[in-house]
Symmetry: C2
Subunit: 621 residues, 2 copies
């Protein structure tokens, strides 16, 4: 099973077409912010002597991610204005490259003497990684080689500087990213040394004696001043010995992406075993019901097992994007729909909540409960999230399909047209659907010529009942690893109708999650729902759902860009006399019937401010 | 109704005698810490030039509070070793006084040029207040005038420096304390100017134009750099206009103490109205079930109404001590047992939890839920709490009684002997009781000569049923404002037996407290209980109490210094298959019967570390 390129999938309408339009507005907005804050002009290399030192030495990555997201977006929806900004920016970036290939505005201008002296904290290779990813996307989208060549020169330079040989730095970056980027560069160039360097960085990580100590001693620093534990950097032990997802969630995701890339490229079963343990730890102990990860603000990190508070949930948007990337990679190693379930969950909920429906404000932090004071911002000093969610939306089609010589997989259902390459044929799949609000999916299959292959359609984990019609006729077919398997001789004109039953469900958390006990979350299809005070004008924590879901789903085209809302009966916890006391001998409260409305979690905080909750109390059976 | 002095009450046995022994050990421990950290030697005034600047400019207050607590303790239980340390320390403190009366080690030695230039942040008058309180206690306990005279010289100097006249500073301290101390000094000296200065400080607070702004401009500071809102200092509006308890909880308590003192001394009804509104806001919206106050770490402050999270509860020990002080004062203005209910609640729960059963470790922060990582420390950089709880324990007897010309009140029941002064007689009350574990109270009344007066015995708010026996005969007598009223002609040999029924109750929180919904707290008598993992070897949040309390109370003399534990049946939330999933479609969990044990909240974290919770889930009726 091989991933398809984002270039093979065109979003043609419905949900994601709408989001790609929003994303285009967002890319303009992000450009204005990058410009206004000096991030783009930093590549003019004139912010040195006498000028104020700029707040983040990882500004380059913000620009690089915008370039990548914009290149991806233009491929989907060409826009002259954006294309001009893109080309101007790319030229400016490349102009900042040094003779030796080095490309980093901060360490070229502000602290040139510190180049590669503090990999632990400087984000130097993190920035390099994003530049490389941007260059690859730019080349694929435009065919222009200027940026890709610069990226190769930079990567070649890195291949000289880093490595196990004498005179080379035997280390790795505190913020992973370079590893996955080098694999990407290897895949488009075929240059083995990039793959080797990625592998080197991964294998060095966490070895003793510890590189970060060596490096700190070289800087003359006192080792006792280390602010973070090595867990924070996933550098507490060699990567192959790691068994639990720990530390900074975004860093962890980028590392695991590289592990999956290397496991695939090198058919490395030991790495795959590590990945399986990490994945299991994540999805059974450290992920929110929205797919959000990284529960604690302290170190933007994973908490302990089951430590998943809703109000203080950190759930950085970038971590959600990172989990989309990782699950997409792991899916191709494992070929199991269960992994695509997580990818889908994160995409439609934790990740998508990161951007507003106007595209001009963003969440960095995505709690599952809000008192009404948490809002998307138009920008951040640490502005990693906006361009990250844009990268995901621009290229969302790539997550929907995979193919091999004789098989095609459909993982996600979105209105799109995909060109898939089998061993000796090109198959065009045209999908029509109102997913994620409706479970009916129409798929037209055009193999060009008559052709044998197997089409695998994912039956989502949330779906309890489905029907498949082939050319109008119902078929009962086997499901393996979560995919309906349709093996036949295909011809142009064949079509499929998959009907996935979308029921509203109550989800419960494992009882070890103390924050969710006695409560349920609402799920319909791939969407997790929430209550907002603007729809439910009471204290949300006093709402009690009936023991079994009695909620009606109805599509409201005028609301929040068109969403399916859930409405129904619930109860409101109250008492005859609620004034003048704070504690009293326990009495039964009364339950006053009320009507409630739930909206998809991704759409919250797009209207009047107020409380929001994902988890809602429920009557005991 | 007038308060009694701590000198009129001798603790004679049982619960508080035990705590006063612990407290003595604690005072030795605290002295060692004060010595070790340089706080005492700072009064040698040799920490200036060339020496490291010490971390807190309010160190003096730590020493002063230890002096006060030790003087109080020695009155109760003389100890030669402590007495020697006390006298040495007092002499050292007085030796640091400047010719003009000023007495502050930091601003005499480290930053002499900054004297009284930053009242907002410097704690200068806060330290002065604690020195004055210490001096008053030292004089009362020992009859020695050295320290009291020094305190008067300092107060006289303050009366010159501060005030409304030209050349005086028209301001007030960022951390209230001086106000209540000046009233105390006025009460022992009769010097009206101390009362006037206290009143001046109170009335200036929060007036516009704002003193803190004026002061900051004088320092050449940018007003936009103010880290805190004026609410933090209770200086957002004139004190008489304040309606809600806001800001730093300890500061608030000390201010309200002064308001109560001034309302009493000046028979000021407008101040009393203010106090009533503040009290009402506190007890109906901002206090924990343990009596803890100040819910947020940010600014050590009160949160919004009903914002009472259990795991992140701040509940500083000093704030609890402050609430004991305030409620004691307000009780004498209001003469209502409801106020003594709060005083008792705080004393036995939020305050007493601040010190370990060995007396050598202390909580600064008192959460109502712990994951097992929150422990008492032997000292703190900001070490305000240890000596504060010691002050309370040393002088706890004073909270039990009040008297007027013809009335005696018993607010709290503790094994003690009290000498109470009526208009023309001295009455000795001798109380025997195993309170707070048992509700039987024996009171011997010795008026010396035959004498008419009314004895008021508080019927605690938690008590639903009681009996009173006078000289062995049951009496049914009226209760007014929460006090049983026994008016008669008393003679030596009279005795009372009060039997307060102590049942274990479930308490519920107002439904607006989202953190407590569906849960109950256990109360028996004045004690709030908690579950600790050492007694209940399961995840505490998965315990479900039966709909009605089925708990047996039994005294365990060997456990935690002798406590009554609650044991009984409960359920444990579980399911057939709990591995491999984190979220699933909601099913009924099963309830496995278990036995649970609860201990008084004050005694937690004195054994093996583990989870602790005050609130426990309960089956719906």
């Amino acid at each position: 099973m091989k991933p398809v390129s984002w270039q093979q999938v065109k979003i043609t309408g419905s949900f994601w077409a709408n989001w790609q339009k929003i994303n285009q507005v967002s890319l303009y907005h992000q450009y204005r912010q990058l410009k206004k804050t000096g991030r783009i002009d930093a590549f003019r290399l004139n912010r040195g002597a006498g000028k104020k030192i700029l707040p983040h030495h990882f500004w380059d990555s913000d620009v690089a991610k915008w370039v990548e997201a914009t290149a991806l977006s233009l491929w989907q929806n060409f826009d002259r204005g954006l294309a001009e900004k893109l080309e101007k920016t790319v030229k400016l970036i490349v102009s900042a490259q040094q003779k030796d290939g080095y490309l980093n505005t901060h360490f070229t201008v502000v602290e040139p003497e510190k180049r590669f002296t503090n990999l632990r904290d400087s984000h130097e290779l993190y920035c390099a990684g994003h530049l490389i990813e941007a260059a690859v996307a730019h080349w694929l989208a435009t065919g222009k080689t200027l940026f890709l060549k610069a990226a190769c020169r930079y990567a070649d330079y890195l291949c000289q500087v880093f490595g196990p040989r004498k005179g080379q730095i035997r280390g790795y970056d505190g913020h992973e990213e370079i590893e996955l980027a080098l694999v990407k560069l290897f895949r488009v160039t075929g240059c083995q040394r990039y793959l080797s360097l990625a592998s080197f960085f991964v294998e060095e990580r966490g070895k003793k004696p510890h590189f970060f100590d060596w490096e700190a001693r070289n800087r003359g620093e006192d080792l006792t001043t280390l602010r973070r534990s090595y867990q924070y950097y996933q550098a507490h032990c060699p990567v192959r010995q790691q068994r639990e997802v720990v530390g900074h969630a975004v860093r962890a995701m980028y590392l695991y992406c590289a592990l999956a890339d290397l496991a695939l490229e090198k058919k490395d079963k030991s790495l795959l075993r590590t990945l399986r343990l990490l994945w299991e730890d994540l999805i059974t102990k450290k992920i929110y019901v929205t797919g959000g990860i990284g529960s604690t603000r302290e170190g933007e990190a994973f908490g302990q097992a089951y430590e998943l508070p809703n109000d203080t949930a950190y759930c950085e948007t970038c971590a959600a994007c990172g989990l989309v990337f990782w699950s997409h990679r792991l899916l191709h190693l494992e070929k199991k729909a269960k992994i695509a379930d997580i990818m889908e969950l994160v995409l439609y909920n934790a990740a998508l909540a990161g951007i507003s429906l106007e595209g001009k404000t963003f969440f960095y932090v995505n709690p599952l409960w809000s008192g009404g004071n948490h809002h998307r911002q138009s920008w951040y000093d640490c502005a990693c999230c906006p361009s990250n969610i844009s990268r995901v939306i621009s290229s969302v089609g790539q997550y929907a399909y995979s193919s091999s010589e004789k098989d095609i997989w459909v993982h996600l259902y979105m209105e799109s047209k995909a060109e898939l390459h089998l061993a000796d044929s090109q198959v065009i799949l045209t999908v029509k659907t109102d997913y994620p609000f409706d479970g009916k999916v129409f798929i037209k299959v055009e193999p060009g010529k008559i052709c044998d292959f197997t089409l695998f359609l994912r039956i989502p984990g949330w779906c309890r009942s489905w029907k498949l019609f082939l050319n109008g006729e119902e078929k009962v077919l086997p499901v393996s690893s979560g995919y309906l398997r349709i093996k036949r001789t295909w011809k142009n004109g064949d079509y499929l109708q998959l009907v996935l039953e979308m029921k509203t469900e109550y989800l419960q958390a494992h009882p070890e999650v103390r924050f969710d006990i006695g409560q349920v979350a609402l799920r319909r299809g791939p969407l997790i729902y929430c209550l907002e005070q603007v729809d439910n004008k009471v204290s949300l924590h006093r709402i009690i759902l009936p023991a079994r879901p009695e909620l009606k789903a109805s599509f409201r085209p005028e609301l929040l860009g068109g969403i399916t809302v859930l409405t129904g009966k619930a109860y409101y916890l109250t008492a005859a006399n609620l004034s003048g006391w704070l504690y009293r001998e326990a009495e039964a409260f009364s339950l006053q019937p009320i009507k409630i409305t739930a909206i998809p979690y991704y759409a919250w905080d797009n209207r009047k401010a107020g409380q929001m909750t994902v988890w809602v109390r429920r009557q005991e059976n």
